[in-house]
Symmetry: C2
Subunit: 193 residues, 2 copies
């Protein structure tokens, strides 16, 4: 991988994170990366293409971590706890400014690309949950899709000030949330498996 190329990716990510996509120009990315415009266009066909490649890396890394968790030999309950924390990290890492531009503007191309990526990931996750249900690691009478929804929903809970105010610190709240999660989805006894 070219040094210039990765410099462009690094610089542009920083700029996008801070200012969003549409506020950053290609020329600005080039100047700050110490790269000429021609070199930029050698590596990326335009700004959208650049953003897509940033997304690819972002989601690629996340999926790598996800698979590392799912293929490890640990107990399913432990896996879900780790997934939840992974999701929290991912949510914190991605910039608000960056994400806003996907839905604010009329950049249909990027919107579609992001949605397809999300959909692809969800499909894998749901698939894993189906498998877990078949293995008796989750209640048989629960929809795997609902579990994924729950995971997303609970990540948002962490930002809710009303909920936060109930706990001395965030760690306690997260523990409470995950406990709630498991008492809901785990088989209540061995006999139910």
């Amino acid at each position: 991988m070219s040094k210039k190329r990765s410099q462009i990716l690094k610089t542009s990510k920083e700029l996008f994170w801070k200012y969003g996509i549409k506020r950053v120009t290609i020329e600005e990315i080039c100047t700050r990366s110490g790269v000429s415009k021609m070199t930029f266009y050698k590596h990326f066909s335009n700004k959208n293409d650049l953003v897509k490649k940033i997304l690819d890396k972002l989601y690629g890394d996340a999926m790598g971590k996800y698979k590392a968790i799912m293929t490890s030999g640990i107990e399913f309950k432990e896996k879900v706890t780790m997934l939840y924390k992974l999701k929290l990290d991912a949510t914190n890492e991605i910039s608000h400014e960056f994400l806003n531009d996907f839905y604010d503007t009329d950049n249909e191309e990027l919107k579609d690309y992001l949605n397809s990526k999300i959909e692809y990931n969800i499909r894998i996750i749901i698939g894993d949950f189906f498998e877990a249900r078949n293995n008796g690691e989750i209640r048989k009478d629960i929809k795997p899709e609902f579990i994924n929804y729950l995971l997303n929903h609970m990540v948002k809970m962490v930002d809710d000030p009303t909920l936060n105010s109930l706990y001395p610190d965030a760690q306690d709240m997260i523990l409470e949330i995950t406990n709630f999660f498991f008492y809901g989805i785990l088989p209540r006894s061995e006999s139910e498996k």
Copy 2:
């Protein structure tokens, strides 16, 4: 003062603070302020004009606080301590993104405007220091201009990580700095006055 007008000032300040001046468009300010473009141009002739009026308010408020301190009956030493804190606050309040655009870009008009404002303020401050020197509140053999330079210089010290690392917390460091300041400028004994 029109409600729309102050809304524009408020919104634009927020946007400028976050993204800098050149990244924010007039149309964006209008949309976010819930104001039509025509209304904008009724109150401000262009973006520079708007920025100037934001600066006016900013520096007006700061000068108000300054004068409140200087005309109060407290001891001179106490005044300088308060000035130092005022300056720290002002430095923290003004956004880095906002100030950058004054010197980065080739917007000579704004650059000049800001410089003239700063110069005007300095003139007042230096004048007050001259008076203080004549009243024997500062050593006679010190240039008032140098005092102003020192004040600015010491504000920057607060950001120096090397200096910071010498103190358990910022408060201790600030105390140290102000103490240093006074042992340098105050008459060492009543007889020297």
